[in-house]
């Protein structure tokens, strides 16, 4: 892939009436929403509501049973269309290649597509690791890092692609609250710095309300509301209110 083949603008995403079943289990029951170019869009919902499956459709890892995913109006299922956009995904498990060092993981895209000479790749890797606060860890193996550090390496790997569309699957899960805030800030800064379209799926309310331009609520395979964080808070739908205001009750005092 050469830069000449890459579409120059950031990508908008449109999901139209998406259905997906695994055996008898219908996970997505007609999901539709639109993400504007350069927007930071968060899909919130409880565990098992189909968020990760939805994200895998958007990046083209899964094929829908019916419905469409369009990127700037063109179907993402078409490999030629996918080749026109730089897209990246940060997986919930980070999905670093455990047989490669941190540096090799971060530079993998450039190395495999032979886009830059090795010395330049090393410099880019170093700069991207520095951007996520992990400078000097190029030679470490992923299993020598904590969960939060692995997540940041995964973000650095995604940044190397210089993505126009970047997807985050549960970026703050399994992280302590301080690291969760750090990762949230990284995502927010990334969106502001690169103007990439960012699509995040998460059940982390704090993350969603602090970084999102708009939030969609996914419940039982359907989008039940889309709006700004303030609109989500104001909405009176009991399903949304239950999710937005759920608190651990003070069991001890009782």
């Amino acid at each position: 892939m050469t830069d000449a083949q890459i579409h120059p603008e950031n990508a908008g995403v449109e999901v139209l009436d998406l259905h997906k079943s695994f055996g008898p289990n219908e996970v997505l029951k007609g999901v539709s929403f639109q993400v504007k170019p350069g927007e930071l869009f968060v899909i919130m919902g409880p565990s098992g509501s189909g968020k990760s499956v939805l994200l895998k459709h958007v990046i083209g890892l899964l094929k829908p049973d019916s419905g469409q995913i369009l990127i700037d109006g063109k179907s993402i299922q078409d490999p030629a269309v996918r080749g026109q956009y730089r897209m990246a995904m940060v997986f919930q498990s980070s999905a670093l290649l455990t047989s490669l060092t941190v540096g090799e993981n971060v530079g993998l895209y450039l190395t495999e597509h032979q886009l830059k000479p090795p010395a330049e790749i090393a410099a880019i890797v170093s700069a991207n690791l520095q951007a996520v606060g992990l400078q000097g860890l190029e030679d470490r193996m992923p299993n020598e890092l904590s969960g939060g550090m692995q997540k940041r390496v995964a973000i650095a790997r995604a940044l190397v692609v210089e993505p126009q569309l970047i997807l985050f699957d549960e970026p703050t899960s399994e992280l302590d609250p301080i690291m969760a805030v750090t990762i949230g800030q990284e995502i927010f800064q990334l969106n502001k710095r690169t103007h990439a379209t960012v699509l995040v799926v998460s059940h982390d309310r704090d993350l969603a309300f602090s970084i999102a331009d708009r939030i969609a609520i996914l419940s039982e395979g359907r989008i039940i509301f889309i709006g700004s964080p303030a609109e989500v808070r104001r909405n009176h739908d009991p399903r949304i209110q239950e999710f937005v205001h759920a608190e651990i009750s003070p069991l001890k005092s009782n």
Partner: protein, 268 residues
């Protein structure tokens, strides 16, 4: 179709198992074709091929020597006394020589490689599948066939014939040692190797190497395919490894029969 089929699969339901088997064979052939089509990108993957070759050689060479020595020895031990009884012990060298290079070395080494290398391949690729590393490759537009399957296929296709080249003389030596030192046989080294030189031709060794090359492709593609279709967690990986090894051994033995018939036909 596949998830529904797998989900509904019950062992007692032979029809589903049969359909699944045909589906797997089809997927294996498609994967093999995709690997062949990506051969022109081999130069980019050369470092991975060298890594895999080192891995295979390192894991197998010592075992190959031990196994071959004892295979040669046991053929001599089983056949030697019978041939001595009939007064034709002088043919032992040629018989063991031919058995090793045409049959035992390629088949036994392929089974060894299926157990040691095929299992490792399916476990590694399977774990990459389960832990989403392959998904991550795909999101970066890196083809898993080119990145994972191609270097392993090329490495195993080079390594197995090389291991057979080691195996054949070590097996001959094992046979010679037993023939010489076993009192019931008592065929000395000179007589043994004289007969071996008279009987075994370069073509016979090439025959074994050709078989081992085909076995290598079969073991490689079955193991990689099994890794790629791995589902579930650690239990899924374990299941894939078992299937990869068992299927490889079954296919090696079936292929051996047809390859032998084919080679006998063209040498007629």
């Amino acid at each position: 179709m596949l998830p529904r089929l797998r989900g509904g699969l019950r062992q007692k339901n032979g029809r589903y198992a049969q359909i699944l088997m045909y589906k797997n064979i089809g997927e294996i052939l498609i994967l093999f074709w995709q690997t062949l089509r990506s051969l022109h990108l081999l130069w980019r993957q050369r470092q991975k091929v060298f890594d895999q070759l080192f891995e295979i050689g390192n894991a197998s060479l010592f075992m190959v020597c031990i196994l071959s020595l004892f295979i040669g020895g046991v053929i001599a031990l089983q056949t030697g006394p019978i041939l001595v009884e009939r007064g034709i012990s002088s043919v032992l060298g040629g018989m063991i020589g031919l058995s090793m290079c045409k049959e035992f070395a390629p088949v036994m080494m392929a089974i060894l490689v299926a157990g040691r290398i095929g299992s490792a391949m399916s476990a590694e690729i399977g774990s990459m599948r389960v832990y989403q590393e392959i998904d991550a490759l795909q999101t970066m537009n890196i083809d898993p066939v080119r990145y994972l399957v191609l270097p392993r296929m090329v490495a195993i296709a080079l390594a197995l014939p090389a291991l057979v080249i080691f195996s054949i003389p070590v097996g001959w030596l094992g046979g010679a040692l037993v023939c010489d030192f076993n009192r019931k046989i008592a065929v000395n080294f000179d007589l043994y190797f004289q007969n071996l030189r008279d009987v075994v031709e370069v073509g016979d060794v090439c025959n074994g190497l050709f078989k081992s090359f085909v076995f290598a492709l079969a073991v490689g593609i079955i193991s990689c395919h099994q890794g790629l279709i791995t589902r579930g967690g650690p239990r899924g990986i374990g299941r894939s490894v078992t299937k990869a090894v068992v299927n490889s051994i079954v296919v090696i033995l079936i292929l051996d029969y047809f390859l032998t018939r084919f080679l006998l036909y063209i040498h007629r």
